[in-house]
């Protein structure tokens, strides 16, 4: 197996591992649109990174984290009650990112790498950064697991029972921003939400407990990465979209199972 493929597989696996449990929270809490908004605005981070000529990964991460905080604030003030508002934010940040990226005539940015991912071009540094972030987010999720579950069951109930709802919710958004920043390399901003929610949705029918669903979602993600990269290797299909497609195939297969709980 060529080196670039091994690097791609390992990187894909580290992202899939964290995308599973995080994706479950996105599905349970119906946050898919939040994920979209965060992901689309990541491109704005890329554009600003170029504009200010700072490290792009850093720019994307900071951009995502900043937007996550802004979204939490807006949500807190109940401004963000509607899908419409999220839709406006999501697509206008994407559009702004695209416009700024194209305005820079000096260097042409390879936009498709950011829009659809560039998994086959990852280097060792990328792999190390991504697996470090992934490990950090998984650890954080484990520590917060009980509180996150309580929050997901009912926020009011959690608050009355003494969970600091605002703090935990903010932390979840920041973790999501981090994962989006690293998952960008794998599937690109347009397909990140799919990588997060499809494995989680595919594992729903096969799980009896939240923990089972989270672990299974990671496994489905890993299989999807393997399937997508295989397809990409043999048929020269784009890696990111192929991964999402194979996740979708796994989801369709899951429909043949009877829901247990």
């Amino acid at each position: 197996m060529p080196d670039f493929l091994i690097l791609a597989i390992l990187t894909g696996i580290s992202v899939a591992l964290v995308a599973g449990p995080l994706g479950c929270f996105i599905v349970w809490r119906k946050m898919a649109y939040f994920g979209d908004t965060l992901a689309h605005s990541a491109l704005l981070g890329v554009s600003f990174g170029w504009l200010l000529s700072i490290n792009l990964n850093l720019a994307v991460t900071c951009g995502c984290l900043l937007l996550a905080l802004i979204l939490v604030m807006l949500q807190q003030k109940r401004v963000l009650a509607t899908d419409t508002l999220l839709g406006i934010l999501s697509h206008s940040t994407l559009a702004l990112g695209l416009v700024i990226a194209n305005l820079q005539s000096s260097i042409r940015i390879d936009l498709s790498a950011y829009l659809f991912g560039d998994l086959l071009a990852v280097n060792v540094t990328d792999l190390l950064t991504i697996s470090a972030v992934s490990a950090f987010v998984i650890t954080a999720l484990c520590f917060l697991w009980r509180k996150l579950l309580a929050l997901t069951v009912d926020e009011d109930l959690a608050k009355v029972e003494g969970v600091n709802v605002f703090q935990v919710r903010t932390f979840l958004m920041l973790l999501m921003a981090l994962v989006i920043a690293i998952a960008m390399k794998v599937v690109g901003v347009l397909l990140i939400t799919a990588l997060l929610i499809i494995p989680a949705a595919a594992s729903r029918r096969l799980s009896k407990t939240p923990e089972q669903m989270a672990v299974l979602a990671s496994l489905v993600g890993i299989v999807a990465v393997a399937g997508g990269l295989t397809a990409s290797y043999w048929w020269d299909s784009p890696a990111g979209p192929s991964i999402v497609l194979s996740a979708a195939v796994l989801f369709s297969l899951s429909l043949f199972f009877r829901q247990k709980v």
């Binding site: 809490r29 069951v153 009011d156 109930l157 939240p210």
Partner: protein, 256 residues
């Protein structure tokens, strides 16, 4: 029941002059309310009278515009919202939900037994019927042993026969746990036997006291009509409560 040295009648929650308005509409106007240990307090009033808002303010889920709330330190509260926001995409069964309180298997079984639904342990939380959910929430309260149990319309979606059973269960649990109960209800006579104090709310406190006194209070009659019929009936509420027709002739704090 209360083993601490604190005086038994020190209120668990004491709220004064609570005002709350939203979108230029006054929801709560100078509401005073206090909940004593081991007391069952029922909050009644027509739809839109601000009952749920008041409870949410007392639980610190919403901030009042003005007024003061004093809560007993380290008050542990069991809360039963009208509905959980839980989505069916989460595979969470009743036993697991109850185990989130930190209880072990035996304790969970015992609690389910106590609320008379021993067989629904494997049911999915998101698919419980109204009555089952209320019982599961009561089981949860048993496991958490709160000082105060707050129930928002506990009999919603429960048939009439089930309603009185549920109220009796709540009253029994109050006896066993020694906790106070704050309950929102639409109708009075089903809860009467079990309630110590009724607070009749329609943006302000219209009247309060023992249920029998309250049910004769002119302000209550104005809101609910006379409920002499002990039979089972669905009440229609008169939603417009006006103060200038002379029927509601008791003094109001807001007017004194």
């Amino acid at each position: 029941m209360q083993s601490s040295n604190v005086a038994l009648d020190q209120p668990l929650i004491k709220a004064r002059d609570i005002c709350f308005s939203r979108a230029n509409k006054i929801i709560l106007d100078k509401v005073d309310i206090e909940i004593l240990p081991a007391q069952i307090l029922t909050l009644i009033g027509p739809n839109g009278a601000g009952k749920t808002t008041l409870v949410r303010i007392l639980l610190n889920l919403v901030n009042a515009d003005s007024g003061s709330i004093v809560t007993k330190p380290n008050l542990s509260v069991g809360y039963m919202p009208q509905k959980l926001s839980l989505d069916s995409s989460m595979p969470l069964n009743v036993r697991r939900f109850l185990a989130l309180t930190g209880a072990n298997k035996a304790e969970v079984s015992e609690a389910l037994e106590r609320v008379k639904v021993p067989d629904i342990g494997k049911h999915v939380m998101a698919q419980l019927s109204g009555g089952e959910l209320q019982r599961v929430m009561l089981a949860r309260a048993i496991l958490r042993k709160p000082d105060l149990l707050v129930l928002d319309e506990p009999v919603q979606g429960v048939d009439i026969a089930g309603q009185s059973t549920l109220y009796r269960l709540i009253a029994d649990l109050r006896g066993e746990l020694g906790c106070a109960v704050l309950m929102i209800s639409h109708d009075l006579h089903l809860v009467m036997a079990q309630t110590d104090t009724v607070v009749c709310l329609n943006h302000h406190v219209c009247c309060q006291g023992h249920p029998e006194n309250v049910s004769d209070d002119p302000a209550f009659l104005e809101l609910f009509g006379r409920q002499t019929d002990a039979g089972v009936a669905i009440y229609t509420h008169h939603h417009d409560h006006s103060h200038d027709n002379g029927i509601c002739d008791h003094p109001h704090e807001s007017e004194t």
